[in-house]
Symmetry: C2
Subunit: 368 residues, 2 copies
C-alpha cells in the first residue's frame, strides 16, 4: 500500500477513529487503526466491538492495500509530523514507512485480515438532527447516568423518538434528567438505550455546527450516527428503560422562581466546606422572606440569603449540592422555577413547556 | 480583628503567600496563612521554615488584630468569592466570619502566637535585577538541577555575583547549564547556593515585568527577594558548589552550526519511539554531508537528515534526546553552535560571548 495525504486531514481522522480504540484488550488487533486503501477511497477504521468508527480522508492511492498500525504509536507520530504531505508506504511484510518532509519513521504494521470492520447495517429511515442539537442534548443529560455496571441500563440514556420529537432521559437513582427537542420531520416511534460511552465519544467527534446534520439509524441491536465523512456504529443496551413518567408528578405544594446564577454561586461556594467523600447537605429554608441556605461542616459554616418569588407552603429541605449544581450548569434560563412537594419528596426544576425536567431526590435532614 | 479589602487584591496576595505553605507538616500552625493587621498595614504571611513569604495589601483596618487561617480552606473560599469588598471579622475565640456580598462563611481561626514570622535580616547592599531577567535566568537553568536529595548541592543553583555580572549554574551529573547576565551596577563578589524550590516559587510569583525590579539581599544563611509589596526569604544550601570551570574546555575537534528548530523538531519526534523508563539514544552521525540522525527502538526507527555547516573532524555520537531537547527549548537563537571533542566527551552548545553554555554528556553507542 502506498498513499499520500495531508498531515492535517490525517491527524483529524486519526483523532476521530482513536475514540473507538480500546484502552485495554486482549485482542491486540483492536489496538490498531486500520488504513484501508483497497478500494477507491482511503478509510480509517477502529473498532472495540462495542463502538466502531470509520472515517474517510482525501488523498492519492498510489498502490492499493490495507495495513493495521498500532493506534497509540501511529497517532503520536502523525500528531508530531510537520503540516505537509505525508506518504505512508507499506511493504509486503507490512513494514511501514511514514514520511513527511525530512522525517522518516519506520514502524511494524499488521495485515488487516483479522480486523473487525463495522457491521453492515441497513441505512434507511434516517432521523435527522443538527450536530449542535445532538451535542447539546447529550451534554445536558449525560451527567445523570450512572458509572456503576451493576445496573447496566443506568449506564445508558433513553433515546425516545415520538413522532416529531426526540426525548432523551438519563437517571442514576438519585436524580433524573429529561430533555426534549423538536425534530424537523415525523418519524416512527421507538425507544432505544444508548451506552453513555458512545454518546460521550460522539459528542467529542461531531463538529457541532448548527447547519451540519447527523443522520441517525436505529436497527435492532445497533445505533449508527453518520455525519460529515464519519460513521459511528454502537451496540445498544438490551432491556426496557425505567418508566420515568410514573416518577414525575405535576402536583406541588411550593413553587419558587429564583435566579439561577445566584443559586449556583451559593451552591458552588458551599462545596468548599465539603471534603471529598463527605456528604454534607445544603439546607434550603424557603419562606416568604426568601431562600435561606445553610451548610455546616467541620471545616466551617455557610449562611446565605437569596431573593425568590414564592407560591405555596414554606418548606425546609436538604440536598446534595453537587446534584443541584450539575443540573443548574446545563440550564440556559437565568430565571428558573423549582417545584417542591415536601421535604422527603423529589424537587423538580423545569420550564413551562417541559423541554427540560431535572428531578433531584432530597436527603434527610434533622429539622430542629 | 476586622478588616475590609477587595477580593481581587486579597485573592492575589493569598495566591502569592500560599507558595510557602508546606503540603505536609507536623506543625499545623504552618498550614495556616497569618493575617497580621496589628499595625497600620495588612500583611499576609506563610512560612514553611525553608521559605517564607510576606505580602501587603491595601484595605481598611476597623479593628487591629491577628489571626491564622487554614491556608487551603481560606484560599479556596477567597477564590470563589464574588469580585467585591470582603470583610474578615474575628472574635475573641478566633471564630472568623468572611463576608462578601451575600456570602457568609464562618471558619475557625487560630491565634498567631506560635506562628513563625520571617526572620529579620539586614537589608543593605541590594543586588538589583529586573523581574524579567530573574524569571528568565531561572527558567533557562532550573531543569538541569537534580531532584534527588542524595546530593543536596545539586538540588540548588549557584548564584555567583562577580563584579557587574550574575552567573547562574545548575547541574545534575549528566549536564550543566550556565547563564550569565550583566547587572546594572558593580557588586561585591560572592557565591551562594539557592534551593530550586525557592527559585521555582519566586519565578511563579514575580510579575516578570521588564521595568519592574527585584532587590536581592544575601546574608550568611539566607537569600531575600523583595519586589512589589512582597518579600520572599529562603535558607541557602550549605556547602561549596562544584568547580564548574574545570569541566569546561575550549578545545574541540568538531564545530557545527545548525538550525535549532530543525534539530528540536527531529529530537522531539524521536521521543515518540521511546517508552517511559526506556533509555534509547539518538545517534548523530556528523559528516561533510550533514547531520544524520538515527534512533532504533522496538517500536520502530527514525531516520533524518539535517543540513549543517561543519568545521573539523567527522564524529558519531549518541545522546539522551531529552537532555538536548531541554537545552534547545530555552535557547533563543535560531542558529546554534555545537562543539564536540570525541564520542566519549561532553558536547557544548554555547554562543560566542558565552552568555549561555549547555554541556551534555554523551551516552555510549556501539559504532559498527
Amino acid at each position: 500500500m502506498k498513499i499520500i495525504c495531508s498531515q492535517s486531514e490525517l491527524s483529524k481522522a486519526v483523532n476521530i477513529v482513536s475514540k473507538a480504540v480500546p484502552t485495554r484488550t486482549t485482542m491486540t488487533i483492536l489496538e490498531c487503526i486500520l488504513i484501508d486503501a483497497s478500494k477507491n477511497v482511503i478509510r480509517l477504521v477502529a473498532n472495540d466491538t462495542e463502538i466502531g468508527i470509520e472515517t474517510q480522508i482525501d488523498g492519492t492511492i498510489e498502490e492499493p492495500g490495507i495495513v493495521a498500525l498500532d493506534a497509540k504509536v501511529f497517532s503520536e507520530i502523525v500528531r508530531k509530523l510537520p503540516d505537509n504531505m505525508v506518504i505512508i508506504n507499506t511493504d509486503s511484510d507490512f513494514k511501514t514507512l511514514i514520511k513527511c518532509e525530512k522525517a522518516n519513521f519506520n514502524i511494524i504494521g499488521k495485515p488487516g485480515d483479522d480486523f473487525s470492520y463495522l457491521p453492515e447495517l441497513p441505512k434507511d429511515d434516517a432521523i435527522v438532527i443538527s450536530q449542535f442539537s445532538l451535542r447539546e442534548i447529550i451534554h445536558q443529560t449525560i451527567f445523570c447516568t450512572s458509572d456503576t455496571e451493576s445496573n447496566k441500563i443506568m449506564t445508558g440514556e433513553l433515546f425516545r423518538v415520538d413522532g416529531g420529537k426526540l426525548k432523551v432521559v438519563a437517571l442514576d437513582g438519585h436524580r433524573i434528567a429529561i430533555r426534549e427537542i423538536e425534530l424537523k420531520e415525523e418519524y416512527a416511534s421507538r425507544d432505544v438505550i444508548v451506552p453513555k460511552k458512545t454518546l460521550n465519544e460522539v459528542s467529542k467527534v461531531i463538529g457541532g455546527g448548527l447547519d451540519d446534520d447527523v443522520n441517525i439509524y436505529i436497527t435492532e441491536n445497533h445505533i449508527t450516527f453518520v455525519f460529515d465523512r464519519t460513521t459511528v456504529v454502537s451496540r445498544l443496551i438490551d432491556g426496557e428503560y425505567f418508566r420515568v413518567e410514573q416518577m414525575l408528578s405535576s402536583v406541588y405544594d411550593t413553587r419558587i422562581k429564583i435566579s439561577k446564577s445566584e443559586l449556583l454561586g451559593c451552591l458552588d461556594r458551599s462545596t468548599l466546606l465539603v471534603k471529598e467523600g463527605d456528604k454534607k447537605p445544603i439546607i434550603m429554608n424557603i419562606t416568604d422572606e426568601g431562600m435561606h441556605l445553610v451548610m455546616n461542616s467541620f471545616i466551617g459554616s455557610l449562611n446565605e440569603e437569596i431573593d425568590i418569588s414564592k407560591e405555596g407552603a414554606d418548606i425546609l429541605i436538604g440536598f446534595n449540592p453537587k446534584f443541584f449544581i450539575d443540573a443548574l450548569r446545563v440550564i440556559e434560563d437565568d430565571e428558573i422555577t423549582i417545584y417542591f412537594v415536601n421535604s422527603k419528596a423529589p424537587a423538580f426544576i423545569k420550564n413551562d413547556n417541559e423541554s427540560y425536567i431535572y428531578m433531584i431526590l432530597p436527603v434527610n435532614v434533622k429539622t430542629e
